[in-house]
Amino acid sequence: MDSSHAAAAPAHDGGHATVQTYIRVAVVLAIITAIEIGAVYVPGLPSHALVTVIIISGILKFALVVAFFMHLRYDSKLLTVLFVGPLIIATAIILAIMALFGAYLLLARA
């Protein structure tokens, strides 16, 4: 067993969420997922409203997992920069490729 880990852990951890918090977050994630899937089956829901619900739900779920399960909320800001920086670039890549190819989520294609 590597005893160096014991010294490593308290040096950078700003405290993690409790088990109760994890369970609460999981319940919220399940509810958001149910809303997201349920929206697909709502008859007559306009396409742009459906896309909006799905994207907002996805962003919320993404943020909850990263903040609480991946402990980014409690960890060093440097780790947030290491992850969010490339995430912004990735989002820009997606939007740039879609713009170049004339593909849009909300607007009908010509």
Binding site: S4, F69, T91
Partner: protein
């Protein structure tokens, strides 16, 4: 700051930032993975609806089935944090149980994906059929490969725990594996929303 420097002097894994190199390395890796999957998702969305021949997504994607598999993967993230919490408090009985359950849920997700892929091939959709087939299989296939890698990693930790070589002092090993596992979960959150749910 003085405490961080003292820790750095004793532990070769702690750098001048006061952070563990292995954890920072994993976050940097996950950042690069964001760009990797961002490119694949962008390519899928760009080619969406541009296939000359079928079958297309509306004819073939099974939302109820994939909703179940998405839920399984989402709940595996909960099991992963429960495993980490158990290992951190040196409760290795529950640590082993949660690690194994996380791997089992991950394997279940891969099973769903294998079934889905097989079903699609029987329906006439392969990697070569059309733009939808190429971009869909490459994107979800790479994600499935990542999940498979995560399952193997989790099982390796579980075996270490069974042999008594994993405890609270090694909790960082579980935490880093957990970071990877949650990442494959958030990638699926994006894939599920953008590929399966958006019409």
């Amino acid at each position: 700051m003085a405490a961080e420097h003292a820790a750095a002097a004793h532990d070769p894994n702690i750098g001048c930032t006061g952070l563990d190199h292995r954890k920072m390395g994993m976050w940097a890796f996950l950042g690069s993975e964001c760009m990797f999957f961002g490119s694949l998702i962008g390519t899928y969305l760009s080619y969406k609806g541009k296939s000359i021949n079928g079958p297309g997504p509306h004819e073939i994607l099974n939302i109820p089935l994939t909703s179940v598999s998405a839920f399984v993967l989402l709940m595996s993230s909960l099991l992963m944090v429960l495993a980490l919490a158990a290992v951190q408090r040196n409760d290795m009985k529950w640590g082993k149980i949660w690690l194994f359950m996380t791997a089992l849920f991950g394997a279940g997700f891969v099973g769903f994906q294998c079934y889905e892929f097989t079903h699609f091939v029987h329906q006439g959709l392969t990697l070569q059929t059309n733009l939808f087939g190429s971009t869909f299989f490459v994107l979800t296939g790479f994600h499935g490969a990542h999940v498979t890698g995560g399952v193997i990693w989790l099982l390796a930790l579980w075996v270490l725990a069974l042999r008594g070589r994993l405890g609270a002092p090694d909790s960082l090993k579980v935490e880093i594996c957990g970071l990877y596992w949650h990442f494959v979960d958030i990638v699926w959150i994006a894939i599920f929303a953008l590929i399966y749910l958006i019409p």
